[in-house]
Symmetry: C2
Subunit: 307 residues, 2 copies
């Protein structure tokens, strides 16, 4: 029996704003949480939580070293998991890092982040998507406004809003170099987009998304309702945000690059089904299907700093 | 006899960073200034001065009304003084507003701004260039790093650094919607660019400048020396900045447009000569030559608020 489509999008001629049908925090006993109730309430209300400097300078250095090595790995650059800028050819993202890279696979299950995700989603977890993002200095491109869930739902078949993203900052993010802007509270509304998904759309959308982007009218409405907030923070900080939070980032002409690690935690019970559009699913490196693997639960030893 | 080129650029294969050969504040008796000595010292040190809310809300409303009427004036949109976005065709700038528009011609000589410019440049003034800038919401393009003087010198034949710009903010400028970023102190260094100026370059450069833009190495050097500062301020504020200050702005994906009026005051004694490149001068709407007119000195009556 097909799964009901609670969040239809790209199957109509006019955009619409729908209500969220799922909880934001799925656990109910807050006394068992790895972070404070105040932090949980903030996540619930705003749809995101910034945890300053969770990873040490030494850890961030190790990640950056790994990143530099990856930038020189021609086999990796040539493979489908690497996405380059349309104009300059510069590396923009590497996907599936939890799968292909030992170090980043360890980071994916780091209890300082994964334990919080596990509490919020109240389930076993798996990584729906992971990537390393580079926004180079001088000519970093913008990421236009979007809810991640809209794409994951329509193109990947993620049924419900029971997923979240963790962005681990590898460089200082300031208001100058294109840090993520969010519309706090927008995770309670779902912008159902007009238009249809073209064939093999992901090949184009990874460079620049045009279908599945919210219309100006909906964005102005959300902006008026919820305003904007910056998520600028120093390297080593972690930004957790709900799968349906409206977010985007301006370009970056400053000499300061902006790089981060990005892990999408999905509840095991929310595993992807057939996409909610008339298209085959996107490839495995963008959306886990066959490589589904429950994230190991590592003990939160003395290195836990996020609580 | 040709005027000596103190600031050569685009006539060499390698970029270079040269020292400024001109004063920043040309008047010497600070007791006669229309602003405080502290403000003057700040302008001298940083190369810019932000004057909050010089123009009232009522005045800003009047300017915005005028702007709306101009956006509907098809003859104006079709004329060479109007510049549109390369992709969308949206209006980006209207030039020579001090000449074609009664209201903005009055604003050009408003003593709250012009008196300060006259003091800093210590001379009679004329308007070298004026424009209305629109940075629309959702898809506002970036303005890449540049020193205005480099272009005015090479392409317009402005001999010396004895000019300044006044940007009058018509919308709130925040760190989200692409407010101007400056490198405070960079006005003391001149980045001499590599490359040559192509024929009729202004037709291309008004949409996107590629020649006469500083190289990454020089920008990184200036950034390291001087850092970055935001000039975010509410509508009605005035940003005064030296002709050689390195500045730029990121794109704007927010729903908030960013618009301003822009007047370039040049010292009458610094009137343009033949361009310092092997090209004819740019057209009159970009750089005053034949329409040279000393700016009338209006009495600073009770409406002066900038001091």
């Amino acid at each position: 029996m097909p799964v009901e489509d609670l969040y239809p999008s790209r199957n109509r001629t006019e955009p619409a704003i729908l209500d969220r049908q799922d909880p934001i925090i799925h656990s109910t006993d807050f006394s068992a949480a790895p972070i404070s109730e105040e932090q949980l309430r903030q996540y619930e209300e705003k749809g995101f939580l910034l945890l300053p400097e969770v990873f040490s300078r030494a850890e961030v250095s190790r990640f950056l070293n790994e990143l530099n090595q990856m930038q020189q790995d021609q086999a990796l650059l040539d493979s489908e998991v690497s996405i380059t800028e349309p104009d300059s050819g510069a590396l923009r993202s590497v996907f599936q890092i939890h799968h292909h890279n030992d170090l980043f696979s360890q980071v994916a299950s780091d209890p300082r982040v994964a334990d919080i995700a596990r509490f919020i989603l109240d389930d076993d977890l798996y990584i729906h998507q992971s990537r390393l993002n580079f926004k180079p200095g001088f000519n970093g491109r913008e990421f236009y406004w979007h809810s991640d869930f809209e794409t994951w739902h329509v193109e990947d078949g993620m049924p419900r809003m029971r997923a979240l993203s963790a962005s681990i900052l590898l460089t200082d993010n300031s208001d100058f170099n294109g840090s993520l802007m969010v519309m706090p509270g927008s995770h309670r509304k779902y912008v159902s987009c007009a238009g249809e998904t073209p064939d093999d759309y992901y090949r184009h959308s990874l460079q620049q998304q045009t279908v599945g982007t919210p219309d100006n009218h909906s964005l102005s409405y959300l902006h008026k309702q919820y305003g904007l907030e910056s998520t600028a923070a120093p390297a080593g900080s972690v930004l957790l945000f709900d799968c349906n939070l409206m977010h985007g980032s301006n370009g970056n002409i400053t000499p300061m690059p902006r790089s981060n690690l990005f892990f999408v935690y999905n509840a095991a019970s929310n595993r992807c089904v057939a996409p909610f559009c008339n298209q085959p699913p996107r490839p495995e490196f963008l959306a886990t299907r066959e490589t589904f693997d429950i994230l190991p639960q590592r003990s939160a030893s003395q290195d836990r700093k996020a609580g």
